[in-house]
């Protein structure tokens, strides 16, 4: 029986690889692969030629920052849940393996082994992307270090999901069963909270001195006894990556491996919780695939009622129904309500802090909000997915509607763009309020108000273009883009997500190039005549060119949507 699992994995990988290779017979996939590899090669070649030879990765501060980053990710997975992908069995696996005479422990090990395929792929990506010396020995060391880190984190998230599911299913009984895990998790979270509170003023002062000051302050805080102890497990996981020599690497690897083994034992021993968590995750996966005979899961709603703003009349733009449907889906989720509530609370708090509290804190939060609004331009289109990426699995339904492909594309993309823009404007609104009482801000209130209004003009178009690129990628390469609810997550898929972000950000930059050049040209031309007022015709130029590009892309993608075979999309999605 045990031999059946390796056989299943071996044959699945073999058949999956053959199908992927066959896909390359399609010129579209082949060209994209060649371009993608060429781009990656150019980036790597450029970086290797510019980095000093033999230079190891920068050590101490990276250890601290890496440890902190991992600690935050781990805390997040305990507090807000984790990626279920690692646990999700396919309907066939549930039918054939859950009923087979095998122990749950074997099922866990099978799933962990399958998860290793994704981790190994990401090990290759990270080994190539991370800076460091180019020697063969070094590359191998880096690959092993990345593998240990990703596998440990993956196991940790899996273990955390067992505990959370067990608690959800069994209430206080689950509490008793998971007492050890919960004690560790709670200690860690409380310790982090206490440390942060204690170190707050030092970090604020560091922030006031800029990024370098903040890193120095972070290092100083991390070196003090309690934070040092709390961060030790996380720093231990990162340390092999930053080891300057082979001997130091071997020395750092032993404790990291110990953590990995300890996590493995923890996860493998959680076999009863596994059953519940796996069943839960598998149901979600089955819903994503749209398997026949499997009832849709009831989504976790914030509220059945939706804002009056989202009322749909019987007349008007027919594709408006698709836009409405996608906005309803977002409005009903807990996440949307939580984010909206957070913005409102944060906005109120900022007003209080900036006028009656520590203006430096308001400044720091304001800049963080501005930074996040900017970061969302690039990563937001991957996070907000209430568009074609979600609906492509119901392509047969979309195709039966009396709508042109371009109308469907326009409406689908409008929904996710609207949500992303609202989130960014919310962040900028918080920043605006935070800066109200600022004494250090160089820009006056009027300029800041104009800037906020300006972003409300620029952002929708830029976001729409970004979302079109994401949706275009899903339409053109359904085999390479995650379709359905949720997004590929977890540390296992971090490398792929980063690679995707780089490629799609490059595509967005390309799309924005012409409007930016024209807008800048108009501004420079009229600056001497109109002064700052030249920004108005420059904006008009920018918007017109961008709108033209968007219209072209919508028509093009609409035509592709009309040609796409629903069966092909369902097939490549089922392949995973």
């Amino acid at each position: 029986m045990k031999g059946a699992f390796p056989y299943l994995i071996r044959q699945s990988v073999r058949n999956w690889s053959i199908l992927r290779l066959r896909q390359l017979r399609s010129p579209r996939y082949l060209v994209a692969l060649v371009l993608g590899l060429g781009y990656l090669w150019a980036v790597l070649a450029q970086r290797h030629s510019s980095s000093p030879p033999g230079g190891p990765m920068p050590g101490p501060w990276l250890e601290t920052l890496g440890g902190l980053g991992i600690a935050v990710a781990v805390a997040w997975s305990w507090l807000f849940g984790v990626e279920r992908r690692a646990l999700a069995f396919s309907p066939a696996e549930v039918t054939l393996l859950f009923t087979a005479p095998v122990t749950r422990r074997w099922l866990i090990q099978y799933k962990l082994l399958r998860n290793q395929l994704l981790i190994l792929l990401n090990v290759v990506l990270w080994t190539a992307l991370l800076p460091g010396e180019g020697g063969g020995g070094s590359s191998l060391r880096r690959a092993v270090s990345v593998w240990v880190l990703l596998t440990t984190l993956s196991l940790h998230r899996l273990g955390a999901s067992f505990v959370r599911t067990s608690l959800g299913e069994h209430g206080r009984f689950g509490l008793r069963r998971r007492a050890g895990s919960l004690f560790l998790g709670t200690t860690l979270l409380l310790g982090l909270a206490w440390t942060t509170r204690d170190a707050f003023s030092a970090l604020l002062a560091g922030w006031g001195r800029g990024l370098g000051g903040l890193i120095t302050a972070l290092e100083a805080v991390a070196a003090s006894p309690v934070p040092h102890l709390l961060l030790l497990p996380f720093v231990t996981m990162v340390r092999p990556l930053t080891a300057p020599s082979g001997a130091a690497w071997a020395h750092a690897l032993i404790p990291a491996l110990f953590f990995l083994v300890a996590h493995f034992v923890w996860v493998v021993r959680s076999d009863s919780a596994f059953e519940e968590a796996a069943a839960d995750a598998s149901l979600h996966r089955a819903r994503e695939i749209g398997s026949r005979g499997v009832a849709p899961a009831v989504p976790r709603l914030a509220h059945r009622r939706v804002p009056a703003l989202l009322t749909l009349g019987p007349s008007g733009w027919p594709a408006g129904a698709v836009l409405w449907k996608n906005l309803i889906a977002v409005a009903r989720t807990r996440r949307a309500r939580e984010v909206t509530g957070l913005f409102l609370v944060a906005g109120g708090a900022m007003i209080l802090i900036t006028f009656f509290g520590d203006a430096r804190l308001a400044d720091a939060v304001g800049w963080l909000a501005v930074m996040w609004a900017g970061v969302l331009v690039v990563v937001g289109p991957q996070w907000v997915r209430n568009d074609l990426r979600n609906d492509l699995l119901m392509l047969d339904v979309l195709r039966s509607y009396p709508l042109r492909g371009r109308s469907v594309v326009a409406a689908e993309v409008a929904a996710s763009s609207a949500v992303l823009t609202a989130a960014q404007l919310g962040l900028l609104g918080v920043a605006y309020l935070a800066f109200l009482g600022s004494r250090e801000m160089e820009l006056g209130l009027l300029s800041r108000t104009l800037l906020l209004l300006g972003t409300a003009i620029y952002l929708p178009g830029i976001n729409y273009a970004g979302m079109l690129i994401q949706n275009g990628a899903a339409l053109l390469f359904p085999a390479w883009v995650h379709l359905g609810a949720g997004r590929p997550g977890g540390v296992e898929a971090l490398g792929q997500s980063m690679l995707m972000t780089i490629v799609l950000a490059a595509a967005l930059a390309l799309v924005l190039l012409a409007p930016t050049l024209l807008g800048a040209g108009v501004f420079l031309l009229l600056d001497s005549l109109m002064g700052l007022g030249a920004i108005v015709p420059a904006t008009v130029g920018f918007v017109i060119v961008l709108a033209g590009e968007i219209a072209f892309m919508v028509r093009w993608l609409g035509a592709i949507l009309e040609r796409t075979e629903p069966l092909t999309v369902a097939f490549v999605h089922a392949l995973g």
Partner: protein, 245 residues
């Protein structure tokens, strides 16, 4: 109302449907029957505008589905065998959604009656995940009938329905045809076809092997005399009716 001419559909080099030609007039119910892989679903999905045919034309109410898809689709309704509903829309919101798509101006007046007719009035605020399969199928059927389609395409319409639902579905098909709709249904259930269809198209390996009323098909060969539709069907698709199942 529905005119199909020279319909071919290839998946790669594999033909799923070859040279199909037929027409369905208002008031007619055409049954598509055939063994698994005969091309029934491919045909009905091509008629619904979901799959693009490789060759041939499909006209709905005079509109070419290839060149004027919006006008053609606004006249038809496609009800799949598996109800595909949106997770985050309630039953009532599904009807409002479809009402906007098809520009049904009197949706507010029609909604209570429709919900009552489908026995969904108590479930109007329920999400698909909270409904049984039969109820979800009713929602899908309601969405199909909401805009009073002139052409109705039903893929295995009785799948998942209970006996009462089956009876209602049959009555609905007959009633819609009586009101002037052209109906095409694909099914493995020969008794359903015999009961509600005015004509039958038997398909095998992507081709039409017989087209006409049940009595006309029975009369088309002396070999079929005195045999049941099932026996005739098996003979036409090359299966020996006396063979072991």
């Amino acid at each position: 109302m529905i005119v199909v001419d020279g319909l071919d559909k290839l998946y790669g080099d594999v033909p799923a449907v070859q040279g199909l030609a037929f027409r369905v007039e208002p008031g007619e119910v055409l049954g598509l029957v055939g063994p698994n892989g005969a091309g029934k679903t491919t045909t009905i999905r091509s008629l619904g505008g979901i799959i693009r045919p490789t060759r041939g034309t499909i006209r709905i109410g005079g509109y070419d589905l290839g060149t004027d898809p919006v006008a053609a689709k606004s006249l038809l309704a496609f009800v799949p065998d598996e109800p595909h509903l949106f997770d985050y829309l309630t039953v009532e919101e599904h009807f409002r959604f479809v009402g906007r798509l098809y520009q049904v101006g009197d949706i507010a007046d029609r909604l209570p009656g429709l919900l009552k007719e489908l026995e969904l009035d108590e479930k109007r605020d329920a999400l698909p995940g909270e409904l049984s399969r039969g109820m979800r199928q009713k929602v899908a059927i309601g969405c199909g009938l909401l805009h009073r389609p002139k052409a109705l395409l039903l893929d295995e319409p009785l799948t998942g329905l209970d006996p009462i639902g089956i009876r209602r579905m049959k009555a609905t098909i007959v009633q819609r045809a009586a009101e002037g709709a052209a109906v095409i249904l694909s099914s493995h259930l020969l008794h359903l076809v015999e009961e509600v269809c005015t004509r039958v198209l038997i398909m095998h390996r992507g081709c039409a092997v017989a087209l006409g009323s049940v009595s006309a098909i029975m009369a088309s060969s002396p070999d079929f005399a005195g045999r049941s539709l099932e026996e005739v069907f098996l003979a036409l698709v090359g299966q020996d009716a006396t063979a072991e199942p």
